[in-house]
Symmetry: C2
Subunit: 488 residues, 2 copies
Amino acid sequence: MASVQDQFAPDLLVWIDRDAPEPLRAQLEQALRDAIREGRLHAGTKLPSTRALAGELRLSRGVVVEAYAQLVAEGYLVARQGAPTRVAAVTAAGAADVAPPTRLGATDPDAAAAVAHARRSWIGSATPTYDLRPWAPDLGAFPRTAWASSVRTVLREAPDATLGNHVEPRGAVELRAVLAAYAGRSRGVATDADRMVITGGITGAVSAIGGALRSRGVRRIAIEDPGFTVHRLLLARAGLEVLSMPVDEDGIDVDALAVSDAQAVLVAPAHQYPLGAVLAPERRTALLAWARERDALVIEDDYDGEYRYDREPIGALQGLDPERVVYLGSVSKTLAPALRMGWAALPADLVLDVGLRVTAAGGTPMLDQLTLADFVDRGELDRHLRRMRPVYRGRREALLAAIAEELPDARVVGIAAGLSFTLLVDGLDEAAACVEAGRRGIAVWGLGSFRGEPAEDNPTGLIVGYGALPEAAARRAIAELAAAMSDV
Amino acid sequence: MASVQDQFAPDLLVWIDRDAPEPLRAQLEQALRDAIREGRLHAGTKLPSTRALAGELRLSRGVVVEAYAQLVAEGYLVARQGAPTRVAAVTAAGAADVAPPTRLGATDPDAAAAVAHARRSWIGSATPTYDLRPWAPDLGAFPRTAWASSVRTVLREAPDATLGNHVEPRGAVELRAVLAAYAGRSRGVATDADRMVITGGITGAVSAIGGALRSRGVRRIAIEDPGFTVHRLLLARAGLEVLSMPVDEDGIDVDALAVSDAQAVLVAPAHQYPLGAVLAPERRTALLAWARERDALVIEDDYDGEYRYDREPIGALQGLDPERVVYLGSVSKTLAPALRMGWAALPADLVLDVGLRVTAAGGTPMLDQLTLADFVDRGELDRHLRRMRPVYRGRREALLAAIAEELPDARVVGIAAGLSFTLLVDGLDEAAACVEAGRRGIAVWGLGSFRGEPAEDNPTGLIVGYGALPEAAARRAIAELAAAMSDV
């Protein structure tokens, strides 16, 4: 479709003044020199072909050829036989070299190395040998082929208007309908497409709901402590006072909540993060009674409710009182956090406000929404979960077996569900243990990193996530961890 | 990969109590009836195969077969030979029918009609015959094949860690580097990857920057009036007082700005929205002098700076003073608004705060970011622009020729750039004209819909966008518009 010629005609903004006394060639040279010196033309940028630039600026081609040659001679540009002229990397000393392009999958080994380096810099430090951080599912198992197939379907079949501006603040109705049905059948959520808002993961939902609550006069919200500290920050940013509620092996302490003056609460009843507690049946009842009595809102963070092992399934709290409980789900623990897709099933009077806040923040890309709708509708999400549950169960069992042997004094809690559990170790110096573990190639976090408010008599321990740890590595990882803990 | 069996094993949350006196079959029936009645199982939802559900619940298959049969008899479920059992659409009268699935590209004509209906409901009302609204580029020209190729490349080559959690609040370094180079060469923006933040379109950037300014004590921000009213709302939501500045054919009135007590200003210097003015050279200078004198920030909305026709290119204001001007770009006018991708080139001291706000709102999906990086890096964005510029130029010329003939008294302004211009008509009843135009199948907006504050002596007129209007339709569209205007 594109000719070879137009491959070398990238946009380039250069000013030529035909009324100025300077010759056109000198003007062009100076304009390019200035653009390179002032950082507008970056090292490695391809210049247009001499023919294309001459056409663009209405100059004779010879003028452009000479200007390029002069700048090559000066070290500003680099020309290679059969390749586009590029901007050189001009160092302080004036020496020049071509910067590698950032193209994904570039075949030039230098470029590939630069891309790999850049990737490392934003993905974080070097990959640990054993990654026990509880922050992602098995990314190597992401169903790339099935996802690509849904992307292809959407790009082939979505009408042109799909690509336009969308005034619907809740997101694509296709996705809302599919997710309402999915959340209903798999998690017992009682909602429909009208009361769903598509969000930028659970993060985007918490920010938007925090803002909506603040705007209707809510001042104080309770959260679990230990809990997901990012949520504490998001709610504080939304202008709310955040109250820490204690958590034990039955989940959030509802008695403590009842004597607080919280007007809303954010909880993870299916698998408290990070301790792993399942909210006990009597506390579920008490929590909903509290909400009714205080006219308060419960925000249910169902971040990994799809994973359950030993116990009977427990449905979402939301199903018991849909006008008092907001349900939050996402694909971060089932597919991949980087998809940035979540959903909120809301009481009717919060839908529009939350949707508008999500839209004001930029909204979720429509093609991604339709891709997920197709993916779930074709049963691919169920299929993926069905494939992964036994994998995670196996990892969990291998870890528990290794812990029983290597760390007989540790107490394990929160194993019934999710992708992580907690290892309680009395009197553990968590920071020292994590540093020592890091030295041995184990990435692991202490319970303390999930605390909002320090307390004297808190239990100490480590969180063990198995989203990223292959079953075969469980024994060695725990042996190293045990060695690290005995060294501190 | 998936067996036929597992195709019919979607997740389904059902509670069975082995200690209860009720028979298991009756419990299962009641659980399904309750889930359907309470809206947790939606009409059209596929149930698991009897074999899969029996395995899941540790029941004999016969129990599940009988329960399904009973519920089919009661009208709760619908069974069809060779197809999965589905939840029926139970009406108030108890009659039942299968709700169509929402699957994209479903071959069932009923389902396709339902999807088409749903799409219309969120895309807006019926498509007008002639769409002159200035809100999108030609969506039919979106380079689907080239975009799909970039998606494929990313899904094939991105390392697994790409799919994980990203702690970098600015977005993917690959995309920031590619866009910094692109904005530098094509728009004269002086920045680098470190000072770029990827945002949810310009919308997401304005919200985040508004919040960041408010948090550092800025109280009042000026905007153009008429202008993009959404930005007024976003800035007000961020807690800022929004001051209206008049606009004429040379752009924003910098003298008015100078006598106001604004501490920041949001402007569109390349093509004021909606009037289309290009900020005059002496006003560019005066605006930057104002910013330096007041220690104020200029936010440059370069929403369609890539399109220019008659005039010499004018670079971004940001290139003249990168520490006082924030540059905002996006793909909404070059590719498609639904991609929700934009970028902000920021002064160093704003980068982290804006990035964190974007992240707190949910962030931009990583695969989309890498897709755009690949797309721009392969030269596809330049190629697309090079293809589209003559198309839009042709549409604009056809419209101007038709206007000269059909509306000789109207004055046309703002034609030098962008994808829209303004038709000034003295004493026009804009609302009546737009309604009458709508009756004739023309979607068009009056100048008044872009005003923040009503004023007596404001000029009246209509905005004519040509992103969506084929050249061949220009004459008929303008003839109908002229007829509508003469009728009011």
